[in-house]
């Protein structure tokens, strides 16, 4: 179309007067509508741009009429085209007939007009072409609109199918009409089995200790009507095993098919959020306690040193050593908390390089053993174990695991740090003969804020984030961590790390496509698709 425009436009300077005006009209009337259709194709949801086409046409015609007074008959034809556009929105066939009529009338009227007013082939052909092209564009407009509707439907269906909240639609009487796939997960019943049933019976929602009464209309709708409950309200339902399932529920009224009033219920299972809240509360209490213990000792010794300045040298030295040791402990707790919040802030992007880990492991075992006066041994080669790691992260991981092993092992019980090599991976193990864990404890031990003992009486100190940090760092290096444990027989933590940098990870963004076609597509942002 741009070619046709430009081609015809090229001759404009050679035309003058009335013929020029007619050309101007037929050319310029194309442009706004064609632009609108093109823009609407790119943004079908924006129907405003489609209205802009005919409006632009009218403005162009008006401008031509004002600027080129001799264009009156040409502009009249132009207005006829715009009228055809308007009629088209009401009835396609009528518009097609009108356009055909306009073309026919233009041709038939020629012999009736004075010779000076007759149009030549140079005017009649582009005019007829323009009218037909506008009709074609209208057809395209209708197709775009139909496509938009289909796209919106597909989009809403996809959202409904993949949303994590259970969505149920009921009629005014509370009978379930439809639901999404999440109903199966949240409610625990297949959608097909709840359709046609009473919503109140299926859900059995409670607020506080009171069952929601829906006999006089949807009770949830009334609950969320208040401004303070726009995002929903917290309810619960009883599970078959008598546990309470906390839910964030919301409801709204829509007009369904046939103008019937329907109610949309959305239900979000907030069990995990509640658990996380409880864990956070417990963590705050634990962390405060952990921070307070060394602080109390530091404060006590500092008070003693201030109050009794005449203490003998050895007592002063012992007090200062106690303050130093507790400060180190305090710093370690704060460091863990900071690292935990860094992990929370986003995925760990660790710079990994191939390093010989054997000397590092041997050194950590020796250092931790000396610092704690405990039996920590290293079993493995003294050199030549190359692994793709971040050295700082590896040291943190090993220290945390050794610290953990020492904490849960009785005094005198040895802790072993060992390394085993496989062709592609290396396994670093920390084994202790401590209290061990049962299967459920082992399954949760990497959870944040989780501790084997969360009762009021805790035998072991700690914030419950050490193993969470270990797992995050190991995964940040592309590895994995696992635990095997038996109550009373100790635990073994195994860290599996890759020996070599993964070619796929390293080079994926640094390789161009093999063919120019795909490389150009990649650089243009053409989305990749699965082969059908």
């Amino acid at each position: 179309m741009a070619v046709a425009l430009a081609a015809t436009g090229s001759f404009l300077p050679h035309l003058a007067g009335r013929s020029s005006a007619l050309f101007l009209v037929v050319q310029l009337a194309w442009l706004p509508y064609a632009t609108a259709v093109f823009m609407a194709s790119a943004q079908p949801e924006n129907s405003f741009v489609l209205v802009g086409g005919p409006v632009g046409d009218l403005l162009v015609l008006f401008a031509v009429q004002v600027l080129v007074p001799q264009s009156s008959d040409a502009v009249l034809l132009g207005y006829l085209v715009v009228v055809a556009l308007g009629v088209y929105t009401v009835d396609r066939r009528l518009a097609a007939a009108l356009a055909a009529g306009a073309i026919a009338l233009t041709f038939v009227a020629q012999p009736l007009l004075p010779v000076s007013h007759r149009l030549g082939a140079a005017e009649l052909i582009p005019f007829s072409g323009a009218v037909l092209a506008l009709l074609f564009m209208l057809e395209r407009t209708a197709a775009i609109q139909a496509q938009t509707v289909q796209r919106w439907k597909t989009k809403s269906d996809t959202i409904l199918a993949h949303v994590a909240d259970a969505v149920l639609v009921t009629d005014d009487a509370g009978r379930i009409l439809e639901g999404n796939a999440a109903v199966d997960i949240v409610i625990g019943q297949p959608v097909a089995s709840v359709i046609g049933h009473d919503c109140a019976e299926v859900l059995g929602l409670h607020r506080g200790e009171r069952l929601l009464e829906c006999s006089n209309g949807c009770a949830l709708l009334e609950l969320v009507a208040g401004a303070d409950a726009r995002l929903g309200c917290e309810l619960w339902r009883k599970l078959p095993d008598d546990r309470r399932q906390p839910l964030l529920a919301n409801a709204s009224v829509v007009v369904g098919t046939g103008g019937r009033r329907e109610v949309i219920h959305s239900l979000r299972d907030v069990t995990r959020i509640k658990e996380a809240e409880e864990a956070k509360t417990l963590f705050l209490a634990t962390a405060s306690h952990e921070l307070k213990t060394p602080l109390t000792v530091i404060q006590g010794f500092a008070d003693t040193l201030t109050r009794y300045p005449d203490l003998d040298g050895s007592t002063k030295a012992a007090a200062l050593e106690a303050i130093r040791a507790r400060s180190v402990e305090l710093a370690r707790i704060v460091e863990r908390l900071l690292m935990s919040s860094r992990i929370e802030a986003g995925p760990m992007n660790l710079v990994v390089e191939e390093v010989d880990v054997a000397p590092i492991l041997a050194e950590r075992a020796t250092s931790v053993g000396a610092a704690t006066s405990r039996d920590v041994s290293y079993r493995g080669p003294s050199a030549g174990v190359r692994v793709a790691v971040n050295t700082d992260a590896l040291i943190t991981v090993v220290d945390h695991l050794l610290d953990n092993a020492l904490k849960y092992s009785p005094e005198g019980q040895p802790v072993t740090l060992s390394v085993a090599e496989a062709p592609e991976t290396v396994c670093i193990e920390v084994a202790d003969g401590g209290i061990g864990m049962d299967a459920e404890q082992a399954a949760h031990c990497f959870d944040k804020f989780w501790q084997a003992e969360s009762t009021d009486v805790r035998r072991f100190s700690g914030t419950g984030i050490g193993l969470y940090i270990v797992q995050s760092l190991v995964e940040g290096m592309g590895g994995s961590v696992a635990v095997s444990s038996l109550p009373g027989h100790g635990s073994t933590f195994s860290v599996h790390l890759r020996r070599h940098l993964s070619v796929a990870t390293t080079l994926a963004v640094r390789l161009g496509e093999q063919t120019s076609i795909r490389e150009f597509m990649r650089q243009l942002g053409v989305p990749a698709r699965t082969k059908s």
């Binding site: 963004v509 161009g512 063919t515 053409v526 990749a528 698709r529």
Partner: protein
């Protein structure tokens, strides 16, 4: 000046025609596995109109009595490094090599290139005003050049948009992408300057050049149409089955 403009244009024309040949080879190799590629055909169409345009222009400048414009030389020299870089990367990929390089972060020199590009555009606009003030007579024959300016800038915009969208995910820039992004607007600038020299009377639009440029317009429109359809998911091409991690960032 005339010899320089002529030689650079002949070199660039040869490179663009080589792109076309390379893409024909790609299309032929992948046809059985991936089917016909409208994208490939459109790209071939562009390469075989852009290439001959430069060859024709180089030959006319070499053999005509007209003085070659200095801006023409500047435009070709500015676009040449990007074009040659992409060409060399493609040669490398064709021979089984990497075909791309990665620039980590945004180094100072890359920032400088962005600023220099802005300065270059300002310089071109200023030079255009100066040139047209001396003499200027509009001729409809420059229409295809103006259309190509708009179309090439549009393709350049698509490429730039993708590079900017990819940057956060990659943590840097793809040299292949940056080179392509630079090639198209500089090509557009070359056409614009050709049009300006034609209007000012320094260059004449011969029918050979006019024919090639008029062929380049539908080729570029066809290319934009194919890219648009692929981006909107209205059609599929060799992007099917290309999901092997490499195209992911661009979809953002």
């Amino acid at each position: 000046m005339r010899i320089a403009v002529s030689l650079v244009n002949l070199g660039l024309g040869t490179i663009y025609c080589s792109y076309g040949i390379m893409t024909i080879v790609d299309l032929k190799r992948g046809w059985r596995a991936n089917g016909f590629s409208h994208f490939g055909l459109a790209w071939i169409g562009m390469a075989f109109t852009c290439g001959p345009h430069h060859l024709e222009h180089g030959l006319h400048v070499a053999y005509s009595a007209l003085n070659a414009g200095p801006l023409d030389l500047v435009a070709v020299l500015v676009g040449a490094p990007a074009g040659v870089t992409w060409f060399l990367l493609r040669i490398e990929a064709l021979r089984g090599g990497r075909g791309d390089r990665f620039i980590s972060g945004t180094p100072w020199w890359l920032r400088a290139v962005a600023w220099l590009s802005g300065a270059y555009v300002a310089f071109l606009i200023g030079a255009t005003v100066v040139t047209l003030q001396r003499a200027g007579h509009f001729t409809p024959r420059i229409t295809p050049n103006l259309l190509l300016l708009a179309l090439y800038c549009l393709i350049g915009y698509y490429l730039l948009r993708t590079q900017l969208a990819n940057r956060p995910a990659l943590g840097g820039w793809s040299v292949s992408g940056l080179a392509l992004t630079m090639v198209f607007p500089t090509c557009g600038a070359m056409h614009a300057l050709f049009a300006i020299y034609a209007v000012s009377g320094s260059y004449q639009v011969e029918w050979h050049g006019l024919l090639i440029d008029w062929l380049a317009v539908p080729a570029a429109i066809y290319f934009v149409w194919v890219v648009r359809n692929l981006s909107l998911g209205l059609s599929s091409d060799w992007n099917e089955g290309a999901e092997g991690a490499r195209l992911q960032p661009a979809a953002a």
